[in-house]
Symmetry: C2
Subunit: 114 residues, 2 copies
DNA sequence: CTATTCCGTTTCGGAGCCGGATCAGTCTAC
DNA sequence: GTAGACTGATCCGGCTCCGAAACGGAATAG
């Protein structure tokens, strides 16, 4: 398998264009990074941990969790063992959203990679 | 070659995370879509054409050209044959930016696709 | 118990982006 | 030449997001 520079950009172009057009729900790069991190990396995920991993401020994470939580893509849960912590958890809607994104990527990839 | 759903998401995760961290210059999804369209699709590129292709308003394109022009990623040029039109053209800095993006995508892809 | 540290949230002023409506400039039909 | 169509840019009020600082609650050290 071989992914050439032009193919890589075309793939990115097609997927980004797709997400821009069907703007529901449109996530910022940060929000998407948070969503993907929570779904792909092993728990637990805390606000502080996510802020450190993405190298952004804590309020930015809190706000992203607010908006994505409102869209049911993610949910908060208090840590019972240490009630200062907030654990970020997955939802069904979030899984569906990423599943669709995955489908889009694969579909576009098949057009460019051979 | 085979790109599985999980691989696709991991690839997206790695690249998005990379772009979020090195935030200079951070482009919105729309801006990136414009940039990729101008560099990948055949000219000419007008404000109206880009607005139609991305399905966004004209002011959004004008503003995106302002900010990306300020960063030298893109430049405007009046159409000599029809002076109503503005032709969006490529720059060296824009090519470099996309080249680096391409490198990142390929590097991450090689970790996930086998 | 008290002081300190750590956590996530909220406040604050500021900056950026949004689309609808409108504008000035250009081209075209007649 | 004049009316109309069409271009990209600008104005406008509104909305979102930003990070630094301050906050309340929870855990920890002494």
């Amino acid at each position: 398998m071989e992914l050439k520079p032009l193919d890589a950009l075309k793939l990115w172009h097609d997927v980004v264009l797709d997400t821009v057009r069907r703007d529901v729900p449109d996530l910022s790069a940060r929000q998407l990074a948070i969503l993907l991190t929570v779904y792909l990396e092993s728990p637990p995920h805390t606000v502080r941990g996510l802020a450190a991993k993405l190298d952004v401020s804590k309020p930015a994470i809190t706000r992203a969790l607010d908006t994505m939580g409102q869209k049911d893509l993610l949910k908060r849960k208090r840590d019972d063992t240490d009630k200062r912590n907030v654990l970020v958890q997955r939802t069904v809607a979030g899984s569906v959203y990423l599943s669709e994104l995955s489908d889009t990527i694969i579909a576009k990839a098949n057009e460019h990679i051979s």
